[in-house]
Symmetry: C2
Subunit: 174 residues, 2 copies
Amino acid sequence: MRKVVYGGAMSFDGFIAGPNGEYDWIVMDPDIDFAALMGRFDTFLIGRKTFEVMRRMGDAAPPAPGIRNIVFSRTLRPEDCPQATLSDDAEQLVADLRAKPGKDIALFGGGELFRSLLAVGLVDELHFNVVPVLLGGGIPLLPSPADRARLKLKKHRVYEKTGTVGLEYDIFST
Amino acid sequence: MRKVVYGGAMSFDGFIAGPNGEYDWIVMDPDIDFAALMGRFDTFLIGRKTFEVMRRMGDAAPPAPGIRNIVFSRTLRPEDCPQATLSDDAEQLVADLRAKPGKDIALFGGGELFRSLLAVGLVDELHFNVVPVLLGGGIPLLPSPADRARLKLKKHRVYEKTGTVGLEYDIFST
C-alpha cells in the first residue's frame, strides 16, 4: 500500500516555519538529493495555510506532469487554486487515495493537516531534515494538543557540510 | 572556560516533559553511558518548576560529593531546598560561575531557565537525546517567544536498540 509521508525541514525546537511563515532559516545542504527524495511521490497534500504562503511567494505553479497537488480547505473556492484539486474532507480523501495504486503521498505542510490525519491513523512516516537552528517560535511540526504517537527510527543521515540531520521514522498512532 | 550545557531527553516534536511534567516516555537506551555524560559536570542548574517536579517525585536527594545543585526561584525559601543553593538571579550567578575554574555546568531543565540564559548568551551547548515519540504537547525545550539562535552540530550518535538519536550542538546566540 502507498505510504503517506509527512516531511520537510524543521528547526531543532520543532518548528516547520517561523512566526510569519518564514523559511529563510532552511539551509539547503548540497548533499541532499531532493530529486531522489521527491521521486517517490506522485501526490502532494497541502494545508490551506501552507497554500496561502505558497501563493504569497508566487509558488503556486502548475505541478510537474504526473504530479497531483491537493489543497485542503473549507473556505477556498476552486478558482483560488486552478492548478490543484480542492477538498474539504482530508480524512475521506486520504483514506481513498491510500487504497488506490500509485506512488507514495507527501504531506507537505502544515502542522494542522498532520494533526488531523495523525489522529485517524492516516500518516505512515515522518521524514524531516533537522536544521541546526532554534527558531524560538513559529508553526509547530505538530500543534498542541495532540495525542502521543510512538515512532520507530528507520533511517538517519548526517549532512556534514551544514550539520543538517535527516531522520526517518515509522509512525504508530496510539 | 567552563561550558554551560543544556541537555536531557526530548521528544521529536520538541518537548522535554509531557503536559503534566510526565517523563514516562523517556526510554533509557542501555548503550547510553549516563555516568560518562554526567562526569563532565560539577554543577547543576535547576529551574523552579523542574525542582517542584523533582520534589514531588521524591527526587530531591542530596547531590553526590563534589556536586552542587543550584535552584533558581523568586518564591522558594532556603528551607524548601536544604540540599541546594537557592538563587533568584540566574544571569549574575551563571556569569560568575562561568568565570571561575571548575568542571562544566549542566542546565538541567527547564525551558524557561534556558530561555532567559540563552537571551543573554550564557548557554554554550545543547546536548539532547531525541526519543522516538511525538508528545503532542507539554513543556517545550524552548518556550515561545524566544530569539533565534544558530547552532553548529558537533557530534551525533544513534542508539540502535531504541532509535534514540543523541545530538550535540554549539550555540551561537544572535
